[in-house]
Symmetry: C2
Subunit: 305 residues, 2 copies
């Protein structure tokens, strides 16, 4: 708790949340509302956080960006499967997580998460891991957007080893996948977990590189697409695709699903939900349309850079 490294990560995370929400608010023309929370004494997890939310904005129909910092008496079993020496250790977890749903169907939804987990074994040094990533979920495919987003992801990771981008790109494709649809959620990006390599400073520097790459990776795409004219057809397609987003988050996303099942803070967890979603039986876009092209040419796990 009084660990200077924890303080440093917390400082960077809260700063990242502020910079990202400022950047998005400037594009949108509307401010985020801040909802600060603190776990009540006696709850199994202790801690605090700030959920920033912008709804019915000019560009964003729903944009949520949360910071949270919790401490618990005992690492969950899933975290100690490969580290028996940490079974029963207290822990501290903090991170920033965001999902932005633009109104314009030509503008993609985006997701970012950056987090640190510290195990605090009694009488020994803390053990740190980092995790996170970012990924893009377009409703209409644009090759230049996919290339730009993946290029910025790759460039952020280059200083940390040539293996990082290809590994984390593949990991992202595998994680954000709807098995019940046999379909990726979007065009991917990067995802990593349990990361600690080259010491604390280098590992944290990599997390910062990912977080700091977010606005340059996403804002140019928003600028390019946000004023594209659209009508009912595009809206209907966007809402059906957002139904898939809901399916992924509630059925497959471990953070969301287990968060809800284990008593996490519901409104903060579900800030990732789209504002509107739609379902229709066995809907298939007509062959040769841009709607069909999304699944055929873009949601394929292909290499973009």
């Amino acid at each position: 708790m009084n660990d200077s490294r924890t303080e440093e990560v917390r400082g960077w995370l809260t700063g990242l949340q502020r910079r990202i929400t400022d950047g998005i608010a400037a594009v949108d023309g509307h401010a985020f509302r801040a909802d600060a929370w603190r776990k009540a004494p006696g709850e199994p997890l202790q801690g605090d956080g700030v959920t920033m939310i912008l709804e019915e904005g000019g560009v964003f129909e729903r944009a949520g960006c949360g910071f949270s910092h919790v401490r618990g008496p005992k690492l969950p079993p899933s975290a100690t499967q490969h580290r028996p020496e940490l079974v029963g250790a207290a822990f501290e977890a903090m991170g920033v997580s965001l999902v932005f749903h633009p109104r314009n169907p030509y503008t993609p939804t985006v997701h970012l998460n950056v987090r640190m987990l510290a195990a605090l074994p009694q009488g020994a040094e803390p053990v740190y891991w980092f995790g996170g990533g970012m990924d893009l979920t377009p409703y209409y495919g644009f090759e230049e957007d996919a290339v730009h987003f993946h290029t910025l992801c790759r460039d952020a990771l280059v200083p940390f080893g040539a293996d990082k981008y290809p590994r984390f790109k593949k990991w992202c494709d595998e994680y954000f996948f709807l098995k019940h649809r046999n379909e990726p959620r979007g065009i991917g990006g990067i995802f990593f977990d349990d990361h600690f390599e080259g010491g604390f400073d280098t590992s944290f520097a990599m997390l910062r590189a990912v977080g700091d790459a977010f606005l340059p990776a996403y804002l140019p795409i928003v600028a390019r697409r946000k004023d594209t004219p659209w009508g009912e057809r595009e809206r209907a397609h966007q809402l059906l695709r957002r139904g898939r987003y809901v399916e992924f988050n509630l059925v497959w996303d471990r953070g969301t699903h287990f968060g809800l099942q284990s008593g996490g803070r519901t409104e903060s967890i579900l800030m990732s939900m789209p504002p509107h979603a739609r379902w229709a039986y066995d809907h298939q876009p007509a062959p040769g349309t841009p709607e069909a092209e999304l699944t055929e040419r873009f949601l394929t796990g292909k290499d973009w850079v």
Copy 2:
């Protein structure tokens, strides 16, 4: 497979599907589409089914009613926890499942499921269980609707013992509960599982009584509410509540969640999804409104009859 009891249950289930979809189509003014399916040879489960769907109808925005009948080489472990003698037995499962989402926010969404599971141990007689129930999810509370629905549920079960309705009513309240919201999905109804009491004929008769009670339990409520005037306010409330319906089905409903995770037929499983759903951060209806009354007076697990 050539068991005459299986034939009899299948006959009743397909008849129930036909009667219910005919009854709903007559109210709606539009017909259901039928989508017949059959599992391909070589798939782990073999079997067939018919999904009946009505979308963008006059009264119903989305109404799905599915019949399915599958056979598998080995009972899932969850089904044999309390019956070690059946571990490894082949099985047969069949049922009718439906969810109807009306367009008018004053008309409740309804769910019914009736099913039979048969374990087929080698060299021994088949072992049968029945399960199912029905429950109502209103967007606006009406005491007479809740009383009517529960009265019909109770009356259907009276011939099978005075203990049935109270037990199955409680079971329903416990099952259709969003733990992450600390809120029931709706005003309940009845739910039962693993039921076999008084022999095959009596157990199956109870299943029939439940299925046959569906239209008389639901149609009078539809008739009473379907022409109530409504506007944007009611629609917005309905869509937010439907978001809760999605949350329950994808996070908590065992059939849906495990069906999707284990390679079930996605479109048939997700026929329960509402046509449109909405999410908003920390939305609370203003005190004293009919929207607040729904949660305060109706979603309480109270006894209606």
